[in-house]
Subunit: 387 residues, 2 copies
């Protein structure tokens, strides 16, 4: 695996940023200097917001919400109404792809996702196919609808929209387990006992994810993120074989530019993948997501690159549980994370950049005003670090 | 924190090994060469064994089993009757200590542990005290009873007995959450919002763990292990402050030798702690446990030391889910782990050593004959590597 540390030309960068009122997030993704550290939050449109719960109530169910472009647009924009976040992320679920493969996704009240059918036999695996993307039309329609809703009177977008997918391995976990798991017994049994079946699932998933993300890009997604939520449960070597290699396949198939010729940054986030940072750095993507176990300064030194040279932008990595502490402690932990990354890259050309985020999705129990405190602390402190 | 890379004198080593029929495990702990790679399995006395389930049935409950020295002795020896394991480990639970603090431990059928009282207020934390070790007499009695049961007709022990405790942080997780958790919200809220309270709990826990492990050593434990099962859920810096520092306190308080002057090796296992290997290597202990995410060869190069010099023995690290694959695949994965560690240290003096283990407790669903295949593969392959 070889990394292609593309240096983008100034015209392409200008084109990418020009349509945006706030281009801080995309600038940081492409290792360009920013006036402060941009931030967004994984699962920022979600249950911790009362307005989200109200919309979900009207939609009747999670899938009723996710499959309706108007509802999806509404909830995607909700956190942006409350907080000056630097990016929007499509409201959807990583399991829409296996659902479109015919596995029958549902969300029971108070429980996690569940599939009516799971990959529990050789016949089931043999029958698996890349789904017709028309079955996921509702997702691409939501992307277009959100892009339209983000448009300001002057024609520019408030912030960019991030599209996303689960990684091939993470999708396979749910497809084999049929639901969430705390030991990954079924999927790992298949992996160790019948690696041939696991490779077949992963190959189909990788093709499906390519088609899915490319269709999101065509519909208007301005960056895409691969959530390798369960890569970190794998053993060393198994991670490289069963997760990393298929993410590399996905990245090789992704469109590099959107419909207007703008650059589409690609973010890879392996939760619990800090030990494999060097492997992840070899991926052909622009940004690596990190969870809170990783020392940001060490990650910057290892893979963040130097000013003027190639490297990865880093995204993360505060513990979402920090948001249960009072605002003063939140500000203190924000300072710790910003200081850990260290002095911001300034001036022209590429350099090490940081996109602030949580190290995992925000908890449904988070007090919304604590999120406001976090956003304010990140923006004000990171502006101060540049003065 | 400074490591004391003690080099043991030959007389002390001879004394330590002389009372044992099988001293392979203790030799590997003290970085002495072995004729094969010794192994034991976390939770080797447990629910995957039908004979364990029968004894637990007779005992009526988990606590009925754990608090009765005869039952505890019986189940501790059960896996040794089936498999040629190289160490016994006390059958008990890490939560006996908080139970003795008055938190009221129970295990509901089919659920995990639960405390009747939890550390949910400043008053509760203020009232916390190191428990009278007499309340844990049943544990020390079990240690003596197991030692007696391990004695052969010639007076030597079949294998050494490992004692253990949860780490101060891991105990605190249960004490604050009141049960297991998947997000550690309560304990991390206290940690971020009221670090003073968290430090008070951890200080009491550290003292209690010292007293508890020293009493196990007095009763006959020949090695002790600190299970930092939840250290890996902490953020970088929080791990060092709230888990590592208190394990260092525990290690500083532990007896270095047993009642007969034998050396008592100390094992520290932070599940998910692979990113902090250099921090862990600075601990004053002999062995570091590793989970399956860690590359054993890299760990050996980083902290295993060279022949003749100081370093840590390494314990681990196969994924317990490997045991759901057929024996041929199990043997293949064993080979991968042994090869990852690399050429065994041979000859006199100290050198890098490996104790084979799982990277986590064995699953209750494991087929017992697959465990036999694992043990056979480790012993035969590691013998072959030495020829």
């Amino acid at each position: 695996m070889t990394a292609t540390h593309t240096t983008f030309d100034r015209n392409a960068l200008d084109l990418t940023f020009s349509g945006l009122e706030n281009s801080q997030f995309l600038r940081a993704c492409l290792r360009q200097s920013t006036t402060y550290t941009p931030l967004w939050l994984m699962r920022q449109a979600g249950r911790y917001l009362p307005e989200y719960r109200a919309t979900r109530e009207r939609a009747g169910s999670f899938m009723g919400l996710a499959t309706n472009r108007d509802f999806a647009t509404e909830v995607t924009l909700q956190p942006l109404e409350r907080y000056p976040l630097d990016a929007a992320i499509l409201f959807s679920d990583i399991l829409t792809v296996p659902d479109a493969m015919g596995l029958g996704l549902s969300f029971a009240q108070g429980e996690g996702p569940r599939f009516a059918h799971r990959m529990d036999s050789e016949a089931a695996v043999d029958g698996l196919e890349v789904p017709d993307m028309e079955r996921l039309r509702y997702v691409f329609d939501a992307v277009s609808s959100i892009r339209a809703a983000l448009k300001q009177p002057d024609g520019r977008a408030r912030v960019p929209l991030i599209g996303f997918s689960g990684s091939p391995w993470t999708l396979a976990c749910y497809m084999v387990e049929g639901a969430g798991s705390d030991d990954y017994r079924l999927v790992k049994t298949m992996m160790y006992a019948r690696p041939d079946l696991m490779h077949r699932i992963l190959a189909v998933n990788a093709q499906a994810v390519v088609a899915y993300l490319n269709a999101q890009i065509d519909a208007g997604a301005q960056a895409v993120m691969i959530f390798d939520s369960w890569g970190g449960v794998l053993a060393d070597q198994a991670f490289q074989t069963f997760s990393l290699a298929y993410m590399a396949q996905v990245l090789a198939g992704l469109k590099r530019t959107g419909p207007g010729g703008e650059i589409i940054p690609r973010i890879v986030f392996t939760k619990g993948g800090g030990l494999w940072l060097q492997d992840l750095a070899a991926l052909d993507c622009e940004v690596l997501g990190l969870d809170w176990t990783v020392n940001l300064g060490a990650a910057r030194r290892a893979v963040g690159g130097a000013a003027g040279g190639p490297g990865k932008a880093l995204q993360g990595n505060i513990d979402p549980n920090v948001l249960f502490a009072p605002p003063a402690q939140i500000a203190q932990e924000v300072e710790r994370v910003l200081q850990s990354f260290g002095p911001p890259h300034q001036g022209p050309g590429s350099g090490p950049t940081h996109i602030f985020n949580l190290g995992h999705g925000i908890s449904q129990f988070t007090p919304p005003d604590h999120v406001a405190a976090l956003v304010e602390a990140v923006h004000s402190q990171s502006r101060a670090m540049r003065n």
